[in-house]
Symmetry: C2
Subunit: 334 residues, 2 copies
Amino acid sequence: MKRKHCVAVLMALIVAAMVCGCSAVGGALRADPLPSWNDGTVKKNIFHFVKEVTDSDGTFYVPPDDRIAVFDNDGTLWCEKPLYVPTVFVLHGLSKRAEDHPELRSRQPYKAVWEKDYGYFETLSEQELYQLTVEPFTGMTQTEYVAMAGHFLKKARHQRFKVPYTSLVYQPMVELLSYLASNDFEVFIVSGGMAGLMRAFSREVYDIPPERVIGTSAMFDYTKRDGKAVLIRKDTLVEPICDWDGKAINIQLRIGRRPICAAGNSTGDLEMLEFTADGGAPRLILLVHHDDDEREYKYDAGAEKALDMAKARNWNIVSMKSDFNVMFPFEKPR
Amino acid sequence: MKRKHCVAVLMALIVAAMVCGCSAVGGALRADPLPSWNDGTVKKNIFHFVKEVTDSDGTFYVPPDDRIAVFDNDGTLWCEKPLYVPTVFVLHGLSKRAEDHPELRSRQPYKAVWEKDYGYFETLSEQELYQLTVEPFTGMTQTEYVAMAGHFLKKARHQRFKVPYTSLVYQPMVELLSYLASNDFEVFIVSGGMAGLMRAFSREVYDIPPERVIGTSAMFDYTKRDGKAVLIRKDTLVEPICDWDGKAINIQLRIGRRPICAAGNSTGDLEMLEFTADGGAPRLILLVHHDDDEREYKYDAGAEKALDMAKARNWNIVSMKSDFNVMFPFEKPR
């Protein structure tokens, strides 16, 4: 009787496993994990790469622990035109501070914002522009900063598309993040944008938690408020700034090893792409090319060197016009 | 016939689920996840805390995404006496470099190591000692550095216990890391020790991957070797150093939010413990107290302020003598 019971349970388990197994395989055969990508070389290369590194019997198998992927944010995961969102947030911060502190309105950079003299910002060097990302938020706790960023992202609207900036993420790239994650990749954002601003939406929009967002940041002062430990934003930047060679350096400092997949869109991403590519094979290197002025923007400015390098090294140049079936999540497929 | 088949499969699934479910519950009831901890207040508090934050119907539930735990390394996870392992590795590096470059033997700090004048190091400030952690490794790639660290950890033996340093991790603390991980905590090491040295063993010994090791680090130069991108160690430190208030600041920079659990053993951990404790409730704060000179070492030096604070704020003081049933993994339970 007891033995009969065991056999019954065993049979039940086998049947259950067969039923579950078959339906899972059926599902996988049916579903395209990248429906917003058009069929083409890039999509084929993505599938080929993931197949190679996840095939435990293959030559190019990479164990899950080493499946690191890094993605730039502005222009790679979301729209960066006509202005970087980080820049819009800084202008918002400067304007807010000038509103609250009239005495600041006569000195730069507050004067320029208050008088809407945006030409002033074009006279600044890249280092000075990065310095501006900390200026209007100095003295805030990071909690206050992230709350302000969250409020800004909720209220602000893109001037052309009239939607929140977080609606202007590229649907095919979001699918790619998710496809890599489902293949046991650990995906990081590595961006010149401010870490606190990205962390205000990265989990909700990209399913990437704060600790996997590497960006530019203010230094902090450890102090007490109402007897409790808090960190207060200083007016200096943490070095290295997360742009150009600073992207590769921050990857080493934070992640501690080379990625096997990297995606960017501009010359600021060049060292990150190169550092990833030069680590061995196989690699998936993507350069998002803005060539669709109908659905987004068309520009090569700031990406010339990266495009040359991508051609020379046979990296994947993603044509937004041809490779993306859908641009933004709110669009219908063509 | 078809319907009968469906019912059979459904029954099979129900039986299978019941069998699996029961045996899992039985297993959980039997196994103590912290067998190397003696029963006592600290062990009780650990279980109570984990129960509270994982009970989705309770007042103190914390979703898995926010279950962040931070652990100091030296003196908290492994033995730091009679010398910090990072210090032993630096002395090894200085000595190796003096061996290869005779011209260095007449200048400090190489002279002191070459002549075994260890008193020299006692004259240095903490900042100067941290500076020494980059000195002998300047010009190496990080890959070379981590390989050298791995070789050192394999060869070097602790002077009293005659085993590799990686055998001198505290078994109860390793069990705690694993217990937290199994309850969906994301565990980070946050230590003044060098990130590259810890990353050489953290995965194997603690099951913590490189990206969750936050330590002190050299700055890098991005350059090319044989036409390939590499990062070369500079002779400067990345700021802030990961000690004292720098621990709290690095937690904010890297993880982007406050932990709900923190463990340390000395005054260098004070701000990390405070920053964690002041974030709300419930919190699990542990201070490992070295009070067992029979099985390890007995000392309060360097921990006085932390011990006072722990008593004042009712944090968990872990008595290694009373709370640890086993000290090191190679010991038999008492």
